[in-house]
């Protein structure tokens, strides 16, 4: 395909992002948009920077990140272990395949009230929801990757006297790592979104609660801050994991 170097460079992208911001800012400054409805990006940026000097807000971020970390850790552990264990036998792989087909399309957020009832109102239901929602992409990625591991690798390992359990560590896990990390990438972004929503729906602390209380008192700029922060967290997690996946693939 014939394309100029400008079109293929990153400049059109930078240009379009900048022009959206400039247009938004101008529309607000010229009074075309009421700041109570949509504050200018500069005001949001100033408030988002002020966030990092406010100890109360930083504590809320800490609470949210702890819930996210706990939920993701559970999701990764469950997803990887179940995914690998089930793919070791034909029968268990068939069962897992059906279970995934049955459970993956369910809107997991719907069980949140049930989690609140059974686990209480503290950290547990939020962590559980993050874990359940983030687990599926990790489980599916692991399960598919293990089944695609080249049989020759396993035969040569077995021929050299590697036991089945040792082959798991030495052959299957390294071979699947890039796909597993890709699954974790998807799960991590989902987790960031779900933890915020879980806190918005029922919580007395965390970033989601900051958002809800700002919305109750119509502090529009403050409503943007938790969303910007959580998007940044999701964005950086995604980029960091993409980097990790590339490294794992190059080994």
């Amino acid at each position: 395909m014939k394309t100029s170097t400008f079109v293929q460079s990153r400049w059109p992208g930078v240009l379009s992002v900048l022009s959206v911001l400039v247009f938004w800012e101008a529309a607000c400054q010229l009074g075309a948009i009421a700041p109570a409805l949509l504050p200018p990006p500069s005001a949001i940026a100033v408030r988002a920077l002020a966030f990092f000097t406010d100890t109360h807000l930083l504590a809320q971020l800490g609470i949210t990140l702890q819930r996210l970390a706990a939920g993701l850790a559970l999701a990764i552990a469950a997803g990887v272990i179940i995914g690998i264990a089930a793919s070791l036998f034909r029968s268990t792989s068939k069962v897992l395949e059906i279970l995934i087909g049955l459970l993956a399309p369910l809107p997991k957020i719907a069980i949140y009230p049930a989690l609140l009832l059974t686990l209480g109102f503290d950290n547990a239901p939020k962590i559980a929801l993050v874990a359940i929602d983030a687990m599926f992409p990790i489980l599916i990625a692991t399960f598919q990757a293990v089944r695609l591991v080249n049989g020759k690798l396993l035969w040569s390992a077995a021929a050299m006297g590697t036991s089945r359990v040792r082959a798991l560590y030495k052959v299957i896990l390294p071979a699947c790592l890039p796909s597993i990390i890709t699954g974790i990438r998807v799960g991590a972004v989902i987790g960031c979104i779900v933890v915020l929503l879980a806190e918005m729906l029922a919580s007395t602390n965390g970033l989601g609660h900051v958002l809800v209380s700002a919305s109750r008192s119509f502090r529009t700029t403050d409503m943007f801050v938790p969303i910007v922060i959580m998007s940044l967290v999701g964005f950086s997690l995604d980029k960091a994991l993409a980097c990790a996946a590339r490294r794992a693939a190059h080994r």
Partner: protein
């Protein structure tokens, strides 16, 4: 249509699904009977309650409101997503202009912006449709752009050399060749739309199944609440199946499905 062995396979698959679902319900019942608590009623009481609720206008009006919003949002998402996706996939300048914006919008928690959108469009349908449609559009754009960008150039040369006009080439070559990817994007899109639909209703607390779910939760009507959860699960499964079949027959000629 398809040949017989495939049909038999589909029935077998369906049987497996039904058996597994029954097993899951049995496990739920055993756990519920073992715990014996108000907060976890078993399916033996929840499923009959769901049957009773299906006879009430209250449930149908909530379900109708939800599904109507989802349908409108999905229609908008399909139209916008396919149009933008084809433009991104076929026009390099559009791709380099729009892709960074899409990449930036990917990690934004869409349902969480509902309180802000409600400032603009009010607490009614428009705000929720806006959020659901935005969510469902993104995967459709990604998949369509991906599919349209990977079309075998020879197909386009062949169309050109046979004197096909640009619009005709788009309609007769590019769109059909992208259809399998559009189908995949639509499935992801509607599932994400369903999740955001429930979440938006839970946040807006206006009408719909998500709102009713939290009303039952607040009132302590636990059996009704679990019945709605089962109903939402069934809706999710039904949508998944519904989009699987027509898409498969629309794209049966595609090799790697």
């Amino acid at each position: 249509m398809r040949n017989a062995p495939n049909l038999a396979l589909a029935w077998k698959q369906l049987l497996y699904y039904v058996l597994t679902a029954t097993a899951l319900l049995l496990i739920w019942q055993v756990v519920a009977q073992w715990i014996r608590a108000d907060y976890l009623p078993g399916p033996a009481v929840v499923l009959p309650r769901l049957g009773d609720m299906l006879g009430t206008p209250e449930l149908w009006s909530a379900l109708g409101a939800s599904l109507l919003r989802l349908a409108i949002s999905f229609g908008l998402a399909l139209a916008g997503g396919i149009a933008l996706g084809l433009a991104i996939g076929r026009v390099p300048l559009v791709r380099s202009l729009v892709e960074p914006l899409l990449a930036l919008s990917y990690p934004i928690p869409k349902a969480a912006i509902l309180p802000i959108v409600m400032l603009w469009f009010g607490a009614g349908d428009i705000s929720q449709v806006f959020v659901i449609a935005t969510t469902a559009t993104l995967p459709i754009i990604y998949h369509t752009a991906d599919g349209a960008g990977r079309i075998n150039e020879r197909l386009l040369w062949a169309a050109d050399s046979m004197g096909s006009t640009r619009p005709r080439r788009l309609w007769r070559v590019i769109l059909p060749a992208t259809l399998p990817e559009i189908a995949a994007g639509s499935r992801t899109g509607i599932m994400m739309g369903l999740i955001v639909m429930v979440t938006a209703e839970m946040i807006a607390r206006n009408d719909g199944i998500g709102s009713l779910l939290f009303i039952y939760f607040d009132m302590g009507q636990n059996i009704d609440m679990y019945a709605l959860i089962v109903l939402l699960g069934a809706v999710g499964l039904a949508l998944d199946m519904l989009l699987r079949w027509p898409m498969r027959s629309l794209t049966h000629w595609a090799t790697d499905q």
